[in-house]
Symmetry: C2
Subunit: 649 residues, 2 copies
């Protein structure tokens, strides 16, 4: 048995967790606050809890007296679950338990959704764009001395019903020798045309039967990170995955600074070489890890935002950052991978995901294709949250999209103590509404070093719900706690004192940080509002939300709705697809249906430039509150706030 039930008292909250889970994470999941500012390293000693029933591993430190230990007290942050438990949280204040219950909302993250390959297979859509066929040919004779190419074309036509065949030149070059070495028993690789009436290209010929070895690579070219997957085209399985920082990063953190660099003398060349180099490293890693011979790879599909795509293809992105923001192209022709600088054999075709506009790029198109939202009846909101957040709304009949300048707050940028979601980042947070003491949970259970995006959202949402942060993002200066203070003219809340932090100073959340978050979420939310308004709908029409991007996997959906980042919706209707760009690239490798659909989908994706959309600025200004100037858009939160108000009075 690996799942145990933990009951927290006096809250009377129950949660199921896996064996070995730290008790403090179980409490967080149950929505139970435990004072804990040191991030789970056992330093502050504040997370003392009483194990009333059951047993835990560890949890005993010098912070606990002999007496306490004997009574059954443990540090929640160091205790690992090993049985069903009843745990009592010492409530040292006089707070009414019923208040605790009202405030506690169990953490709800998005369901992780994987496209089901079996489903594709059942629907007959598992038709990889590249297939292998094994042929046993009659050797040439005086009566039948047709050309080698014709011999193969004939066999494919007559025995495999393959038509409109065309050979790549390198295949013709090696064909005569391969045929004779292999005694005319060979495997050919056919790359299908995108359109039904298109040509089927023979891109490789190998001696013997190699039909069980056919692989494809999918790549997401991110501004920050490049991810690659090696895919088995027989099974659809991902054999290896690897991610590496985009080596362009030394020339600028975001796309705008990259574009600026590309305009310098030789800049484009450098950025092109850097990203191609990174992709080559990723290819090298996944090839080694999956033990695939590069000769067995048939295609590589790449998706990236418009700037990354143009830099990868060595096309100046100069006009992307200048009004009226014109990309070079939306659709790119298939190319030989090596002609783009990729270290792949010359038979490998590179397919590049098309772009909608300068700021809605191939990564988003890939996500839309990979998620299948363009074939779904339900009205879906697709959000890829990052520095440049993109939104797509629509269903099988129509699609609208836009990019929002959310700023880097969700990735820890523009936040005083902000950091990426790395070890030491506070990723979860709770606060005691009476003592105002925090509960910090960090990635890696080490002393906190900073606050990552999901931590920031939870922090602001939690503090807003208990009234520490007001609707306009200000800290309540009347509260009696040393944690709220003014420094250099800016009010801030001390999340972790220097003595328990992993850095040499206090970790704080400032009003400027809160303001940046409000601007970021305001941009996103007003983006959705604007798109919906442009098509004559309102926010209640949404049937579901798909989150993409590294951000979406950890974030507490309820908290996102509290700050007004996401529209209020049943969290069960929110799914997380992870790296949508990589998903789309992989799906394209597996089914030709997606490749043939992408042109149509692209044509259906109506792009809005918010800088040119009059209603956007009004929506944006209205969204610069927690959760929004119009509280009726968030009815559940509204009723909780009203309940809290009643409790107070």
């Amino acid at each position: 048995m690996n799942e145990f039930k933990i009951k927290f008292l006096p809250h009377d909250k129950e949660v199921s967790v896996k064996k070995g889970t730290f008790l403090i994470r179980a409490a967080m999941d149950a929505g139970v606050h435990v004072n804990a500012s040191c991030g789970g390293e056992g330093v502050c000693g504040k997370c003392r809890v009483l194990i009333e029933t059951g047993d835990v591993d560890e949890g005993i430190t010098e912070k606990l007296s002999r007496e306490d230990i004997d009574k059954g007290y443990r540090l929640a942050c160091r205790s690992k679950v090993k049985s069903d438990l009843v745990v009592r949280i010492p409530v040292e204040s006089t707070i009414d338990v019923s208040v605790l219950n009202k405030l506690a909302t169990p953490r709800k993250t998005a369901r992780i959704k994987e496209r089901n390959l079996e489903d594709l297979k059942e629907k007959g859509l598992f038709v990889p764009p590249v297939v292998k066929k094994y042929l046993e040919l009659p050797p040439p004779s005086a009566e039948n001395n047709m050309a080698d190419v014709s011999r193969i074309v004939n066999a494919l036509r007559n025995e495999h019903n393959e038509h409109r065949l065309e050979f790549n030149m390198p295949v013709i070059r090696k064909l005569p020798d391969v045929l004779r070495t292999a005694d005319f028993k060979v495997t050919v690789t056919i790359a299908r045309g995108v359109r039904k009436e298109g040509k089927n290209r023979i891109i490789n010929v190998e001696a013997g039967d190699t039909t069980d070895r056919n692989f494809a690579i999918a790549v997401d070219i991110g501004t920050t990170t490049v991810y690659g997957q090696m895919i088995d085209l027989r099974t659809g399985e991902v054999l290896a995955q690897y991610g590496d920082f985009n080596a362009q990063i030394s020339y600028g953190e975001d796309v705008i600074s990259r574009i600026v660099f590309s305009e310098k003398e030789g800049g484009l060349q450098i950025l092109n070489e850097k990203v191609v180099g990174t992709i080559n490293q990723v290819i090298d890693q996944i090839t080694k890890r999956s033990k695939v011979d590069p000769e067995e790879i048939s295609t590589i599909t790449l998706a990236g935002n418009t700037t990354m795509t143009q830099l990868f293809l060595n096309i100046s992105p100069r006009y992307i950052r200048r009004a009226p923001y014109v990309p070079a192209a939306t659709l790119y022709p298939p190319a030989q991978a090596f002609s783009l600088g990729l270290n792949l054999p010359d038979h490998v075709t590179a397919l590049v995901y098309p772009q909608v506009s300068s700021y809605v790029g191939g990564d988003i198109v890939a996500g839309v294709m990979g998620s299948g939202m363009g074939h779904d009846e339900r009205l879906t909101l697709y959000m890829d949250i990052g520095t440049n957040a993109e939104i797509v709304i629509g269903n099988k009949d129509w699609l609208v999209c836009a990019a929002c300048s959310a700023g880097p707050a969700f990735e820890g940028g523009g936040v005083k103590m902000g950091m990426r979601a790395a070890k030491g980042a506070i990723e979860d947070f709770s606060i005691d509404p009476i003592t105002l003491e925090p509960m910090n949970i960090t990635i890696g259970n080490v002393r906190p070093k900073g606050i990552c995006g999901s931590g920031l959202i939870t922090m602001v949402a939690t503090m807003f719900e208990v009234g520490i942060i007001s609707s306009n993002g200000k800290l309540n200066r009347d509260l009696d706690t040393p944690r709220i203070r003014e420094a250099d003219g800016v009010y801030e809340y001390v999340v972790a004192w220097k003595n328990v932090s992993g850095i040499d100073r206090d970790i704080v959340l400032t009003e400027i940080d809160i303001d940046n978050l409000i601007r970021a979420k305001g941009a996103m939310y007003s983006g959705c509002m604007t798109l919906l308004k442009e098509v004559g709908l309102d926010i209640h029409a949404l049937d579901r939300i798909i989150l993409a991007g590294g951000f979406g996997s950890f974030v507490d959906l309820e908290k996102c709705m509290v700050i007004g980042l996401l529209p209020e919706i049943d969290p069960g209707k929110v799914t997380f697809i992870g790296n949508g760009s990589l998903l789309g690239a992989r799906m394209s490798s597996l089914t030709n249906r997606i490749r043939s659909d992408v042109g149509n989908t692209l044509a259906r994706m109506t792009n809005f430039e918010f800088s040119e959309t009059v209603s956007y600025m009004d929506n944006y200004i209205a969204a610069l509150f927690l959760p929004h100037t119009d509280l009726n858009l968030f009815p559940k939160l509204k009723s909780r706030m009203e309940a809290r108000q009643k409790l107070k009075t």
Copy 2:
């Protein structure tokens, strides 16, 4: 007035020639024999003729006495026509003039046929596969910020009815800057798909209106020589032409020795580099001579025999020379010219003519396409005569083809004193049937150095008709002349004595030479017989003959029929198209109809391997006589021979 009438007495033959023509050539054209063994350099002094009426320039040398000069004698080989003339040939023998008349047949060369461009235009077939379109685009604005590529596609679609457009990557790379430099007034180059439903590729974009500058290159890759032409795609005009020896020639004279060399370590690479180098030189020359900027070139179309094509494409020709003689491919995909090593900008597409078989190559397919025989009602014999002679027979309904191992006799190879058609080569010949004295006419009117193909044919035909050479190719040993002698056990005829020859010895025609010529013509003729027989026809069914190859322009058609190289047919039905390979390459550059037809034509060209065709050997053996064992196949010759027989008796 530039044409003058020359009447020769006592033969009473008349001919029209241009001003400045040497009198000896006028005599040859009229079929009048004049003793002249020195090739026209005035050395032997034997071509003394009497100018009875009219006047000539020059023609006076030390070989003539003062008295002769006063009487009006001149040397025919040094006299230039400058008025109408009556010229008497001193007949020093007692031969009956009527015999002379019977023997004399005026020289008849093939009509040179040029495909008429106006005709193509009238039929609406002048649709070059590459066109330029000038566009004045609306610059991007906030309301219309579509991608640069989309802007062009839209304009082409809406204003020029162009569809299924696809961009080459290099065009996308330069497009954004070109558009803005040119204020959105640009010219795009569209390469049409071969098939109607194929894609139209945009291969170039230039600033401003450059529609008046659009060029194509046509290349014939010959085993010996590479020819190129620069073609203006607006007018169809050839702006420049250049030929150069194929630099592969140092590695072997014929295709077989090249294949052998290609099989050595590194041999293929060397031969590939050599022929690509030669083509690049040709490109360079025609580009300079036509003052075309390489950027203005849109396509290059190349045709060559199967071995040359494979060597050019860097495909081992190893199996071409091994039974069952299998080429790598028949059809080759279009390729980027630079990817094949050609010094052309990266937008230029290279189209390579397809092959029928290992020995009926792209040069022949190009000739068939260029001559239009596959669309003609008439049953046509197409012959490309060279070392490897190819034959195509057919009409609009069917086509059969084969290669004959004619051997190099037609190019002066395998002949003791044989040489290419260069300065000093005896290219025309006549003999006095009584004195057995020759009349040699050389290229360049210099002392003879050897015998070229057309000279050899005329020589053997003439000597056969007057009975010096017998039906089985033997010299008549009974004749009383020092010119027929035995040397090293082989009988020979002295064409020019050492004292008048341009080399340090006598120039002779040996029985071995005659035998080689008989084998060569036998291979060709029996090839025609065999192909016709295989389709159930006989030689009389032929409506016309098309000759291709350098050989065909000079040769006397009647003489070809005398030796049995060509079937007996009205010489007016024989046309000469010169370099058929180059013609086809040029025609393909001018009309997409040919490009789209070539696949169908290829499929209709039924190839015969004579080594596998039982009847071929029988036909060959029957053809090893002058003109043939069956004299009924040559009725006109038969009647002349019977007349001669009657005169003798």
